[in-house]
Symmetry: C2
Subunit: 163 residues, 2 copies
């Protein structure tokens, strides 16, 4: 994932391909974890490229998307839903607030918590970003038919959802 390289440095320094075709990877390819990780990295790679336009990392997009569809959500709920540890969310939230994309409002029932909401600017950004995300998903899975795509999501959910 050459994130910084593509942003900061226009020069390509990373070594090129190298011979791979002769390597036998058949055993690893029998493992769901190996295939799921490679597929995730492939889609996520395109995701990062497209979202760089909005200066959003995946975690930023995920946080903003949950705030979009859950106005007033708290940091603790975000942490739980996205498996982020509370100390690591603080900087993410602060950065999004500093950019004027979200605002904090006192929680109506819990004086300790702050409800998170999109600003108008945040809403405008997310309308575009979510459309971009949906588009790139189709692009990243271009070799799959609509039915296959639906099957893939169904099977992936059966893997990670609790019984």
């Amino acid at each position: 994932m050459a994130t910084r390289a593509s942003v900061k440095s226009p020069r390509v320094v990373t070594p090129p391909p190298a011979p791979v075709g002769e390597i036998d990877t058949r055993y690893l390819e029998t493992l769901i974890g190996y295939n799921a990780r490679r597929a995730a990295l492939s889609v996520i790679g395109l995701f990062m490229t497209r979202m760089a336009r909005y200066e959003l990392r995946i975690v930023d997009f995920s946080v903003l998307s949950l705030i979009t569809h859950n106005p007033g959500i708290t940091s603790a709920q975000l942490c739980s839903a996205l498996s982020i540890l509370p100390p690591n969310l603080v900087g993410i939230i602060n950065a999004l607030a500093r950019r004027g994309l979200i605002g904090r409002q006192p929680h109506p029932r819990d004086g300790r918590a702050m409800g998170l909401h999109l600003t108008d600017a945040g809403h405008a950004l997310m309308v575009e970003a979510e459309q971009t995300a949906s588009d790139l998903e189709i692009e990243a899975t271009g070799r799959l038919s609509a039915a296959e795509r639906q099957t893939l999501i169904r099977l992936l959910r059966k893997v990670y959802l609790p019984p």
Copy 2:
């Protein structure tokens, strides 16, 4: 992934569950990347738990597995096949060699390169580790039928393999 916590510290410090059921995550669940990443993390979590017995991380297992099925493979080939940068592979290889699991032999055709091979101890370990990996894959995808499992791998490969 509470790796170190479960190994070094018997005390549980990480905050507990928290309310999640009421959060609307339906949009994120339409994204292949989101689902593939969660599935990968789910399988990889069990993988780490089972492989801790052999003191192997995923990257260690992947490297050893490729050496197992490609005796004499070079570091550059491992880097290419597993998307590891050369400087980051050095420590991995050194650690496996220090544990007596692999050995380096001069490459027959290229004086710069070293061919990597399993030692007898490394071979014995990998017979067990690969069996453990295959078993836990079935366990981690326990809700999938054999046919579904095969379909899932086929669709994942269509996502990440080049056209």
